[in-house]
């Protein structure tokens, strides 16, 4: 008469999982002044808004898990969102064996351990997907906030550049700015 026995196998997996997303685009900076002067105006304005200048000349600001990097000379903007977690995943499986037929205890344990490994890998994949979704949502939200901010930056440096240009053309008699409409009128005596 055969006797059944139950084998319970538990496994855990600790892994650092990451999700990331990134977009690169370009700011449209009008060439009112020579490119290096426009880049200088852009860099100054960005610094006022919390961007830090790096050794290579790029300006970086980190807001939570999102990093915004702007190259003032080319106007290239890279926005990168990262989401990472160290997760411990656990899985447990039971199997039944018989003392007279079928594979022995060792064989059953090996088989169940393999199945558990596959379960853990699937769980890890799902977790990675979750983090990926989190990173993408973070990026999308950041872009929504960043668009009006960068629009304001571009408007401001365009106005500044126009004032500089006007000064170069002659003597500036009058400057009037309408904050609401964004109109800028400069009267220059040449």
């Amino acid at each position: 008469m055969s006797r059944a026995y139950r084998i319970t196998v538990k496994e855990s997996l600790t892994r650092e999982l990451k999700g990331s997303d990134e977009i690169a685009t370009k700011l449209e900076v009008l060439e009112i002044l020579p490119p290096e002067q426009m880049a200088g105006l852009l860099a100054e304005e960005l610094k006022k808004r919390g961007f830090e200048e790096q050794e290579d000349g790029t300006l970086i600001r980190t807001d939570g898990k999102v990093t915004v990097c702007i190259e003032p000379c080319t106007g290239e903007v890279t926005v990168r969102s990262e989401s990472g977690e160290t997760v411990t995943l656990e899985a447990k499986r039971d199997a039944t064996g018989y003392d007279d037929i079928g594979p022995g205890e060792k064989g059953i344990r090996e088989r169940v351990r393999e199945q558990i490994k596959q379960d853990l890998e699937k769980k890890a994949e799902r977790e990675t997907e979750r983090l990926q979704t989190q990173a993408t949502r973070g990026l999308e939200q950041k872009l929504e906030e960043l668009q009006p901010e960068l629009g304001a930056v571009i408007n401001k440096i365009t106005r500044e550049a126009l004032k500089h240009k006007a000064q170069q053309m002659g003597s500036v008699k009058e400057i009037s700015e309408d904050e609401e409409t964004g109109n800028l009128t400069i009267k220059v005596e040449v």
Binding site: I23, T25, T136
Partner: protein, 368 residues
């Protein structure tokens, strides 16, 4: 083609039609199909059939008929595709007017075939391409201009045979053929597509072929752009767009180096035709994409950007036009610059470039 066999004997030709074997008859019919003189439905049974045993060689009559069909078929194709038109193209940096046979000297117009064309005909007539152990292929570097033209037409003709086409498109003889890439780069769609070098196609016989094919290429590109709105699969769109971007960028760069902007006329005219209907939005290209697409925003954006491969080329073409404007009367490339300016104006280049810029800007997530 070399052979150690005696050519098959046939009864002496009477005054009637030339006599050929059954295999040779099939081969000649397949050739006519590949040159566009027979519908795919009629040719499909011939392509899918296996002829066993494969004859060791062809009779002289058959070889003569193949030569005659190739010579007439390809010339007729080139003339119909656009060679008959009175056009202006550059020759030695000077614009030359007229039909192709008026513009291009006879020795440049001569089409010479190598062994690979006949070998391909023998292979496709004898083997069933979907179930064959004979993995025929030919090195692209050994192909003549006429061979490359023939293989480009052949691949296009085989497009309606869905199980044969991808098998052939994967062969080096087609994948390494620049003309195949200009006709339909989407056939070589991949994550990292690598187009062949286009420099050989900007001089000599190949350039003359490209001159003839300009209207046909324009039609193909316009059709392809209009069809993109029907593409539902994100990965397909991304790979097709990447292949188009790679092909057009490489071709325009080669044309600029060879000082043959006139050979990129089809790109300008295609863009002009696409934008002729008025202001477009990116949805014209990407409106058919199904679902939300890839999980990462980066991949979605990359797909959408790739879909607009053609409008993206306007920046390069406009740069040429701006440079052409600064060329003086006594400069060496004055005449060629004038020709490009004329092409640009005829295609409403400024308007098209502005529209292309606007539609590309709409895709950018941080447009200000």
């Amino acid at each position: 083609m070399t052979t150690t066999h005696e050519p098959p004997t046939h009864p002496p030709d009477s005054s009637g039609p030339p006599a050929v074997s059954k295999f040779e008859y099939n081969l000649l019919r397949i050739l006519r199909f590949l040159l566009g003189h027979m519908p795919a439905e009629q040719a499909a049974p011939l392509v899918y059939s296996r002829f066993s045993p494969r004859p060791p060689c062809l009779s002289r009559t058959c070889v003569r008929l193949v030569q005659d069909t190739l010579a007439k078929g390809l010339i007729v194709h080139l003339v119909r595709a656009g060679g008959w038109r009175r056009e202006r193209f550059l020759s030695g940096n000077q614009p030359v007017d007229g039909r192709v046979w008026d513009r291009v000297p006879l020795d440049v117009r001569r089409l010479e075939f190598g062994e690979h064309t006949l070998e391909f005909l023998l292979w496709i007539s004898a083997e069933k391409p979907t179930e064959t152990r004979d993995d025929w292929d030919a090195p692209p570097a050994e192909l003549s201009a006429a061979d490359e033209l023939f293989f480009a037409l052949a691949l296009d003709a085989l497009r309606p045979l869905p199980d044969v086409f991808p098998l052939l498109a994967a062969k080096a003889v087609f994948r390494g053929n620049p003309l195949c890439w200009l006709i339909s780069p989407g056939d070589f769609a991949a994550d990292e597509p690598i187009p062949p070098a286009f420099d050989r196609w900007l001089t000599g016989t190949r350039a003359a072929i490209l001159e003839c094919l300009q209207p046909a290429l324009t039609q193909r590109w316009v059709r392809s752009e209009r069809g993109k709105g029907q593409v539902g699969d994100w990965q397909q769109m991304r790979q097709q767009g990447r292949a188009e971007l790679a092909a057009l960028a490489a071709f325009l760069a080669a044309a600029e180096t060879a000082a043959r902007p006139d050979l990129t006329r089809f790109v300008l005219r295609s863009a002009s035709a696409v934008f002729a209907g008025g202001e477009l939005t990116p949805a014209f290209w990407t409106g058919g994409l199904q679902g939300i697409g890839p999980q990462r925003l980066a991949d979605r954006l990359d797909t959408q950007r790739a879909a607009l491969a053609l409008p993206r080329q306007l920046e390069t073409l406009q740069r040429w036009e701006q440079r052409a404007r600064s060329v003086g009367y006594f400069d060496e490339d004055y005449q060629s610059s004038q020709l490009w300016k004329a092409d640009w104006e005829a295609a409403r280049g400024d308007d098209v470039a502005a529209q292309a810029r606007r539609v590309l800007e709409q895709l950018e997530p941080l447009r200000t």
